[in-house]
C-alpha cells in the first residue's frame, strides 16, 4: 500500500504541475517572446522549444527531486492509510496522459520509418562516408530530412534536375542544420508532451527553426541568394505534400516562404549565428546558483512538499 500511495501521490503532483504549467505556457508564451525579444532566429526557436517543454521538464524535476524523496523519507512506512480518491484519480489521469503521449510518439516514429524505407528504395547515397547520408531518390518529397536516431537527407530526382550545384549545396546545408539542431527529436518530444492549445506555439517554433536553419546554411550574400533560388524552385515543383511527422522539408508553408525569401534577400552577417560559447557565460552561473539554492533549502522544501501531499491525500 505504501508503494501504491507513493506512486499515486507522485503522479498526482506531476499531473497537477504539468497541467498548470502547460496552461500558463499555452496562454503566456507570446508575452514571454515579446519581453525576451530574441535577436536571432535560432535563439527564438530555442526559447519556443524551452517554453514548450518547460512544463514536462519542471513537473518531472519537481516530482523526482521533491515529491518522491519527501514521501519516501517523511511518510511513515507502516501507516495504514488508503491511497485516497484524489491521488488515485489524478494518478490514473497521469498514466493515461503518458500512454497517449507514447502512442502518438511511437505512431510518428513508425510512420516515419515506413516512409524512409519507401524513399530508400531505388535511392543512392550521394556522398559515401558522410556523417549524415544524403540520398538521391525518385520516391521522396523534393528535399527533406527524416529520422531521429539515424537521420538522412533525401533529395528527389526532380530537385536534382531543377537546382544548380551551388543551390543544391546550400539547400542540403539547410537540411543538415536541422539534424545538428535535433529538430526531428524535438518534434518527437512535442508529440509525447500532449496538451491542448499548443498548436500556435509549435507552428511559431517551426517557422523559427526554418529561419534558424536558413541562417546556419548561408555565410555570404551569394549563398543567401542561392538558398532563396532553391526555395523558389522547390516550391514551383509543388512540394507541400504531406510528410511523416518526423521529417522536415525545405518548405514549411507558403506563408513562411515569402517571409524567408525576403529575409534571405536582406541577408546581413547579423543573421549569422554566433559561437554558442557566449551562452555558457550566463547559463553556467545561473545553473550553479539554482543548484546552491536547492541545496540550501532542500530540507525545508521537502517538509513543505510533504505537507502538500498530505493535504492532497486527505
Amino acid at each position: 500500500m505504501f508503494a501504491a500511495r507513493c506512486i499515486g501521490v507522485s503522479l498526482a503532483v506531476f499531473v497537477l504541475m504539468y497541467a498548470a504549467l502547460s496552461l500558463a505556457v499555452s496562454r503566456g508564451w507570446r508575452f514571454v517572446v515579446k519581453v525576451w525579444k530574441p535577436r536571432l532566429a535560432g535563439s527564438s526557436a530555442d526559447l519556443l522549444f524551452g517554453l514548450r517543454m518547460a512544463p514536462l521538464a519542471v513537473a518531472a524535476g519537481v516530482t523526482l527531486l521533491f515529491t518522491l524523496p519527501s514521501f519516501l523519507w517523511l511518510e511513515p512506512r507502516f501507516a495504514d492509510e488508503a491511497i485516497g480518491s484524489a491521488p488515485l484519480t489524478l494518478g490514473v489521469a497521469c498514466l493515461l496522459l503518458f500512454a497517449a503521449g507514447m502512442v502518438r510518439a511511437i505512431t510518428a516514429q513508425f510512420r516515419t520509418s515506413r516512409a524512409v524505407a519507401e524513399w530508400l528504395e531505388g535511392g543512392s547515397v550521394m556522398e559515401a562516408g558522410a556523417k549524415v547520408p544524403v540520398v538521391r531518390t525518385p520516391n521522396a518529397p523534393n528535399l527533406t530530412v527524416a529520422g531521429v536516431r539515424s537521420p538522412r537527407v533525401f533529395v528527389s530526382e526532380a530537385t536534382m534536375a531543377a537546382l544548380s550545384p551551388a543551390e543544391l549545396r546550400t539547400a542540403v546545408r539547410h537540411e543538415l542544420s536541422h539534424v545538428r539542431r535535433y529538430d526531428n527529436l524535438k518534434k518527437l518530444l512535442f508529440r509525447f508532451a500532449i496538451f491542448p492549445g499548443m498548436g500556435d506555439l509549435q507552428r511559431q517554433w517551426s517557422e523559427a527553426t526554418e529561419m534558424a536553419a536558413d541562417d546556419a546554411a548561408v555565410s555570404s550574400r551569394r549563398e543567401a541568394l542561392d538558398l532563396a533560388a532553391a526555395l523558389i524552385k522547390v516550391s514551383r515543383l509543388g512540394s507541400l505534400e504531406s510528410s511523416p511527422a518526423l521529417a522536415i522539408g525545405l518548405l514549411h508553408s507558403s506563408t513562411a516562404l515569402s517571409a524567408r525569401i525576403e529575409r534571405l534577400f536582406e541577408w546581413r552577417t547579423v543573421h549569422a549565428p554566433r559561437s554558442q560559447s557566449r551562452s555558457w557565460r550566463y547559463s553556467l552561473p545561473a545553473g550553479a546558483a539554482v543548484i546552491v539554492l536547492v541545496a540550501l533549502t532542500y530540507s525545508a522544501a521537502l517538509l513543505r512538499m510533504h505537507a502538500l501531499t498530505e493535504w492532497l491525500v486527505r
Binding site: 550574400r221 551569394r222 541568394l225 532563396a228 523558389i232 514551383r236 507558403s254 515569402s258 525569401i261
Partner: protein, 142 residues
Amino acid sequence: MKKVFGLLRPSPATRLGPLEFELLQSLWARGSATVRELLADGSIALAYTTVMTTLDRLYKKQLLDRVSEGRAFRYSPRHTRQELEKAAAGETIRQLLDSGTTASLPLSYLVEAVSEHDARLLDELQRLLDEKRRELREQEEQ
C-alpha cells in the same frame, strides 16, 4: 480578440476608414506615439483634433492601447499587423466557406485562388531574385 474580428471584415484596410488605417500604420511603424508626435514629421496633413478623434475611435474599437502622458495620451497598437491580417483572413475564409450551397464549391474557389496567388507570388519573388543577383554581380565587378 473576437470583437476585433467583426471590425475587420473583409479586411482591415476596407473595414477601417482610410484615415484610421493610415494612423494605425503609423503606429505600427513607430510602436507608440502621441498625437503631437504623429503630426510632427509632417507626413500626416490633418488637424490635431481630427487625429485625436480618430485615435480615440480606434481606442474604443479596442485596436489601440493608451496611457496618459501629461495632458495627452500615448497610443500604441494592441495587435500586431500580422495578428490583424490573420484575423481578417480567417474571417473572410469563414464567410466564403459559409456562403456556398455546395460545401466543396467555395473550397475549390479558394484552392484555385491560392494556386494563382502562389504562382504570382513565386513570379514576383523570382523577379526580385534576378534583380538581387544582378546587383551582387555588379558589386563584385566594381
